[in-house]
């Protein structure tokens, strides 16, 4: 139960930052449009089932879409991210589960190197799909490439900054309590 509330608070917080900070500030450059809210999907617990994750991602994206007046765009990108996430976690987590019992992905639970790979791959796939959809209706191929890499880089910078500034309290999953 506590886990659910924690994630809901986190979701609202990131939604607020995305809409009223990242989308409102004047941009660094027209090619750079960083996002942060999808960190909420990256931080969901390991134990969440892939199908539930897809639905959560869909509605997260849709809510962001309604604030940004672009129905479907962010929802679609979030779905791609949520679809890849379980596979990536399967690849990156240690094999023997006796040693491995953290709740959610973090630098501490996955160790730094795999964790950086985890966020890089997911951020990159999110931005690629998002910019790809924009490119289909508008723009040139060069713009598409530059925009993808620039936005991914800045988003990663933001995510790692947040990771370092606000370390999450990590508790082991135990049998006691929820």
């Amino acid at each position: 139960m506590r886990e659910v509330i924690r994630n809901i608070v986190r979701f609202l917080l990131f939604l607020f930052i995305e809409i009223y900070v990242l989308d409102s500030i004047p941009h660094l450059h027209r090619f750079i449009s960083p996002s942060l809210y999808f960190i909420f999907l990256l931080w969901l617990p390991f134990s969440i089932r892939p199908r539930l994750l897809l639905w959560i991602a869909f509605f997260t994206g849709l809510i962001v879409d309604y604030f940004m007046q672009s129905p479907g765009l962010h929802a679609s990108a979030c779905l791609v991210l949520a679809f890849i996430r379980p596979f990536l976690i399967g690849v990156l987590t240690p094999r023997d589960s006796t040693e491995f019992n953290y709740r959610e992905p973090s630098a501490q639970s996955l160790l730094w190197a795999p964790y950086v790979i985890y966020i890089t791959v997911l951020t990159f796939s999110y931005h690629t799909w998002l910019v790809f959809l924009e490119w289909l209706s508008f723009g040139s191929f060069g713009d598409f490439l530059i925009k993808t890499f620039a936005s991914t880089a800045i988003s990663l910078l933001l995510i790692i900054t947040i990771e370092l500034l606000f370390p999450r309290q990590l508790r082991y999953r135990t049998n006691v309590g929820g």
Binding site: Y20, D23, S24, P26, H27, R30, S33, P50, R51, L54, W55, F58, G61, L62, D65, Y66, F67, M68, Q69, S70, P71, G72, L73, A75, S76, L79, V80, A82, F83, L133, E134, F138, G139
Partner: protein, 292 residues
């Protein structure tokens, strides 16, 4: 049959992914039709509520600048007052008959309504602005939106009971008829989605003398915008020898990053004008009714 069910169950996650992906792409590509649907209107109401609350806080931090802008408008209006003009010839007086004659009757063409911006973006290629007045305040589609200082901002594209959505000039599908203030020649204002501080003015013939720094205003021929309101200033002339038309870069007068209080301007004759235009097109261009 059993195998089919087993197959679907085995890949249920993948099918969920496909289903949701198709759904979101459908949302994305049928936006214009879907826009009219009840669901988006409901969503519009909801995001509108949140945006209003947030804006109420944010407005405190920019009150100074807004005051200055309003002061400038007041200043320009004070200068228009009748008492600021003197009549040199005191023996001659013009009397207007109180009974209104047909020949002197004036028809009101534009009606201004105030509104506040509650959501705004300039980062995408298709930027929309949300206002806190909707159909209950008499706002309908195709009304134009001017900033507090009179500079052009955009056109209303959809309305819900309490809120309305503006297609900003910074939208790749926006096309506005504008004119040079100096000569009155008109062209089309567009945006290529690249730089928010640079609009493009096309369709102005090269016979017209244009300098960097010329003021661009809304045209007399626009159905939406009242004429003569500032759009921007020419900031660059792209030379292209292949056409007889200029490609001008225009720096917009409205600062799209900092919109707060705006005017929604209704052209009271819009329906009549656009109906006449449409009828004419139908009559002349319909080959069945008019074989030539």
């Amino acid at each position: 049959m059993r195998n089919v069910i087993l197959f679907i169950r085995r890949y249920l996650t993948f099918f969920t992914f496909l289903l949701l992906q198709i759904l979101s792409l459908w949302f994305l590509y049928s936006y214009n039709k879907f826009q009219q649907a009840q669901f988006l209107q409901w969503a519009n109401e909801l995001t509108g509520q949140v945006n209003t609350r947030y804006k109420r806080v944010e407005n405190f931090f920019v009150l100074g600048e807004e005051n200055k802008r309003l002061h400038r408008v007041n200043d320009s209006l004070l200068n228009l007052l009748a008492q600021q003009y003197v009549h040199p010839d005191t023996t001659k007086r013009m009397v207007v008959d109180t009974i209104r004659q047909d020949s002197t009757r004036q028809t009101r063409r534009y009606y201004f309504r105030p509104a506040s911006v509650i959501y705004n973006s300039t980062s995408g290629e298709k930027n929309y602005i949300q206002l806190d007045r909707g159909s209950l305040a008499g706002i309908t589609e195709n009304m134009s939106v001017l900033n507090a200082d009179g500079s052009t901002v955009g056109i209303i594209v959809s309305v819900s009971p309490h809120f309305s959505q503006v297609m900003s000039l910074l939208h790749v599908r926006q096309k506005v008829n504008v004119a040079l203030q100096k000569t009155g020649d008109f062209g089309t204002l567009e945006w290529d989605g690249a730089d928010p501080s640079e609009l493009l003015l096309k369709g102005l013939p090269k016979s017209v003398p244009v300098k960097v720094g010329d003021v661009v205003v809304s045209s007399r021929y626009s159905f939406n915008f009242p004429p003569g309101y500032p759009v921007g200033v020419v900031s660059g002339i792209v030379s292209d020898n292949s056409t007889n038309f200029y490609l001008l870069k225009v720096r917009p007068s409205a600062r799209f990053n900092n919109l707060q209080h705006v005017f929604v301007v209704e052209n009271l004759q819009y329906t009549e004008q656009s109906k006449l235009d449409e009828d004419t097109r139908k009559r002349i261009e319909d080959p069945k009714r008019n074989p030539r």
